[in-house]
Every structure is written in C-alpha cells, then in structure tokens.
Symmetry: C2
Subunit: 138 residues, 2 copies
DNA sequence: TCAAGTAGTTTGACCATCAAGCTAAATTAA
DNA sequence: TTAATTTAGCTTGATGGTCAAACTACTTGA
C-alpha cells in the first residue's frame, strides 16, 4: 500500500483545477455557477419538480425559486404544472436552455479530452475503473 | 483509445463528490468556504502578501481585505508588515489558525483514505500517476 | 525630483444563500 | 365528511462573498 499523502495532494490539486476550469467556463458563457448547475441537472435528468431539483443542488426551495425566476426571465427554463399533484411544479429546459446545456456539455467533454491527452489507453481504462470505484464505494 | 464519454461522466461525478464533501466539512468546522481556502493556502505556503494570496484564491484584493478582517477578528490569522516593502502586508496563521489548518488537513487525509479504501496498491499507484499527469500536463 | 506604477483599503452594488413564516394542496385521522 | 397534519412552493429579511471603481500610501524609474 503506497503512501497516501501524495495521493491526497494530487486529489486536492485535481479538484482545484476542475474548480478553476468551471469558474472560467461560467464567466465565458455568461451565466452564474448556480444557473449552470441547474441547467446541467435539467439537461441530464429532464423535467423535475422544484423539490427534487433543490435536493440535487443541495439548496433550499426558497433559494431555487429565486434562481428559477431569473432563469425563466432569461428564457432558459420554463415552469409547467405537475400532471397529478397540483402542489408541484415541473421545471424544464426551453430550447434556448437546451442549447446552453449542449454547449456546456461539449466544453466539459473537451476538458476531459485535454485532461486525458497524455494518458494512453490502458491508463484511461484504469483511471475510469478507479474513479468508478471511488464514486460508488464512498 | 476507449470511449471518453464514460470518463467524462466519472470525472463530473467525482468532482461533485469532492465538492459536496467540502461543503459538509465547512459546515462542520464552522468557518466559511472562502476562509477555509485562505487557511489552507496559508498552511501550505506560509505567510504571504495580500496580493499573492488574492491571486492564488482568484479573488480581488478588495474581497480579500474583507475576509482577512473577519479572520483577524476571529483570531485565525494576523497581519504583519513586510520587511522591505512598506506597501505590502504579510498575512499568516495564528496558533489558532494553525490548529484549524491541521484539523482540515486531517479531514482531507481521511477523505483520501476513505476514497481509496477499495483500491489495491497497484490501482493507487496508477491513479496517482494519472492524476499527476492530468495536473501537470494541462 | 516627480510621474507612473503598485499594494492595500473602502464603498456601493449585485447575487446566492438560509431560516422562518406564509399559502395552497394532499393525506391521514376522527 | 371534517379536522389536523404534512408537503410543495413562494416570500421576506438578514448575512456573506464578490467585483469595480475610487482612494491612500508607498516604491520605482526617468
């Protein structure tokens, strides 16, 4: 079992790199971090209730209400009544929001390509296995 | 060369996990994220000029001034004049701040231990190599 | 010496966030 | 059915992080 200290350091550094990348992308596409996160979740999971979305984002529904208000005004998302529960409201991407999601996704994919530029096939395969294990066993 | 799509997804998920971990730790130790970041940088690099610290944190010096004011009030850091440049001010951890840095560092190390619990020695070695390459070649 | 540049602070304006209190709808108990 | 409870979402008031721009004090270089 090798020394975990270096690994710890590498993980911290990797996290900082991703964080700084995200920061720069947010500036580039001109939407706040919080709104990018919302778009990302709606793009991945499709229409969602406010409650569900707030839970995934780890914020309160009150905060989400404010965000969604702004995003509705910017025509990135729309609200729609829930079919069977009149208390609930579904949020979904508008076409404009969908375009922004695709853009963001493409940028993310490009980041991965850049990150992996110096890894050979075996390394990529093993990295994927390690990340999967870490993501699921923790 | 394997499909990068899965890898992209795994990286996003890994980033979210780290982000959520950081969030919960910040709540636990009762200091804001920004202040934890300050403490971390001062712990790693030692006393620093405001300018330098602000650059590493990717915030303006104005913002940093406010943060440092609060942290001085909380006795986590102190200001000290620069030896040769009277415009500059050095910021450094107080003993109390140093304790908090050690605590945070220990938590981070524990996170790494948990993350790697299901990786064998070879996997850990290769993960470190991949992370190092990604950190340095990007 | 003095003009230009640099380090740090202050101020005024946003934005994100939460907690608490609110309304409307659904669910459960009587 | 009615009443009490729970749930979903919204509103409000307060706090904290951030930036840009204006300001002060110091340094540097022509």
């Amino acid at each position: 079992m090798p020394d975990l200290h270096q690994l710890n350091h590498a993980i911290i550094e990797f996290y900082e790199k991703l964080s700084s990348w995200e920061h720069s992308v947010v500036k580039e596409i001109g939407v706040s971090l919080s709104q990018v996160h919302t778009i990302e979740l709606l793009g991945i999971h499709g229409a969602m209730r406010m409650k569900e979305l707030a839970e995934k984002m780890a914020i309160t529904t009150g905060t989400l209400t404010v965000q969604v208000d702004k995003m509705v005004a910017a025509e990135l998302v729309r609200r729609r009544p829930h079919e069977s529960d009149r208390r609930s409201i579904l949020v979904e991407l508008t076409p404009k929001g969908e375009v922004m999601y695709q853009q963001h996704d493409a940028l993310h994919h490009q980041l991965t390509v850049d990150l992996c530029a110096n890894l050979d096939g075996d390394e990529q395969r093993l990295l994927l296995r390690c990340l999967s294990k870490m993501n699921h066993e923790f």
